[in-house]
């Protein structure tokens, strides 16, 4: 299985473990992630405004490159996934946006949302299969109580992302079970960590990520797992001193496959 891989800005810098172990574990599972040449930053947050055209262009350039290569586009960062997938949906469904973007970019063939955008977790669930992963686990995470932290970006808006049930997701819990761990269900797992407000108002992530951590801990979680570098940053700050460890899902997978 081969996919085009869109790492995004942070996986090349502060979230290197998310990137490195995505590639290594994918390879071990028979999935080749070929990095998209000359990819451009997605911008971090989906531009909600209908007349926001320029801010959607970088995502469309990546999507066109994948279409022209005839491959599905795989993302690992939750934010990249959210942005690229929502822009792709606009290109498929919104004539106002599609016309303006194509007029600007002038691709040889106008882009109409043909590329399929997949998160690596979806590849693991739907293409590789959690049962196949379970068979390849050599160091099961037996006895580890891990809370899946979905946050916002993997799930919402669910009409567009179609990733999992937005209120009662199971994909990361199923993933954890395949690795031999014990998933911990807690109410705050799909609530926001405080996101970019961290840049100017520390109080927001303090309250939000703090609520996520204390809720997870109260339900017995000893570790949290995430797919988002910004969630990681906000959670880690609040996790200091609580004894709760926060890791990327690719790190856990690498550990269970014994390729860390």
């Amino acid at each position: 299985m081969e996919f085009l891989y869109y790492p995004g800005c942070t996986l090349k810098n502060k979230a290197k473990d998310l990137d490195l172990y995505a590639r290594r574990t994918a390879e071990a599972l028979g999935v080749t992630l070929t990095e998209l040449p000359e990819w451009q930053c997605c911008g971090g947050v989906y531009p909600l405004g209908r007349d926001e055209i320029a801010t959607k262009l970088s995502s469309v350039r990546n999507l066109i490159a994948a279409r022209d290569a005839g491959r599905d586009l795989v993302t690992v960062c939750a934010a990249c996934h959210n942005v690229v997938k929502q822009v792709n949906h606009d290109m498929a469904t919104d004539d106002y946006i599609r016309t303006r973007v194509n007029n600007y970019l002038q691709p040889e063939t106008p882009y109409e949302g043909e590329t399929q955008v997949l998160h690596l977790l979806e590849v693991l669930r739907d293409k590789v299969g959690f049962d196949a992963i379970r068979e390849k686990v050599v160091k099961p995470l037996t006895g580890r109580k891990i809370g899946a932290y979905y946050g916002c970006l993997l799930l919402r808006p669910s009409k567009v992302l179609a990733f999992d049930d937005p209120e009662n997701p199971t994909i990361i819990e199923d993933f954890l079970r395949a690795l031999g761990a014990e998933p911990v269900i807690y109410a705050q797992r799909n609530e926001c960590c405080g996101a970019y407000a961290a840049i100017e108002n520390e109080n927001v992530p303090k309250k939000r990520a703090g609520a996520v951590l204390s809720n997870a801990k109260a339900n017995g979680a000893e570790e949290l797992v995430t797919a988002c570098p910004l969630c990681m940053y906000n959670l880690k700050k609040q996790a200091d001193g609580t004894g709760v460890k926060v890791t990327y899902f690719t790190e856990l997978l690498a550990e269970a496959l014994d390729i860390r």
Partner: protein, 128 residues
């Protein structure tokens, strides 16, 4: 209804219909940053509908929406309140001199583990 052009512009950018709102309050009830906000998601919807936009333009609430999409997800009428907050914020920061965040402010904010994603996202939301 004052400032009709501004209202029309905001409605166009939002690309959503405030008249569909049945005022159930679910958006604000679900908002993770409700406590910090002066105007809440349901108020953005009704105040845009009523053309009462000046107070929103002046409010810190513009910068407190986290774009978590909970209000969009849980609205039973698909009003998409986050789109109104975004449209008002854009109406504000698209004006000259109204950037909330400047590159000059960044060096003082960088920590060892600050992810690029935080800077990119903050510029997308706070600056044009």
């Amino acid at each position: 209804m004052e400032n009709n052009n501004l209202r029309e512009q905001i409605l166009f950018t939002a690309n959503a219909d405030p008249k569909k709102c049945m005022k159930c309050g679910k958006c604000s009830g679900a908002c993770p940053n409700y406590d910090e906000m002066e105007y809440h998601p349901h108020q953005f919807v009704s105040m845009v509908q009523n053309g009462d936009i000046e107070p929103l333009l002046k409010s810190e609430s513009l910068y407190l929406c986290l774009t978590c999409m909970v209000c969009v997800e849980r609205c039973p009428r698909n009003v998409q309140p986050a789109r109104f907050i975004e449209a008002v914020r854009l109406a504000k920061i698209r004006q000259q001199g109204e950037n909330r965040l400047t590159p000059q402010q960044i060096p003082a904010k960088i920590e060892e583990d600050t992810p690029q994603q935080l800077l990119v996202s903050a510029f997308r939301k706070y600056t044009k």
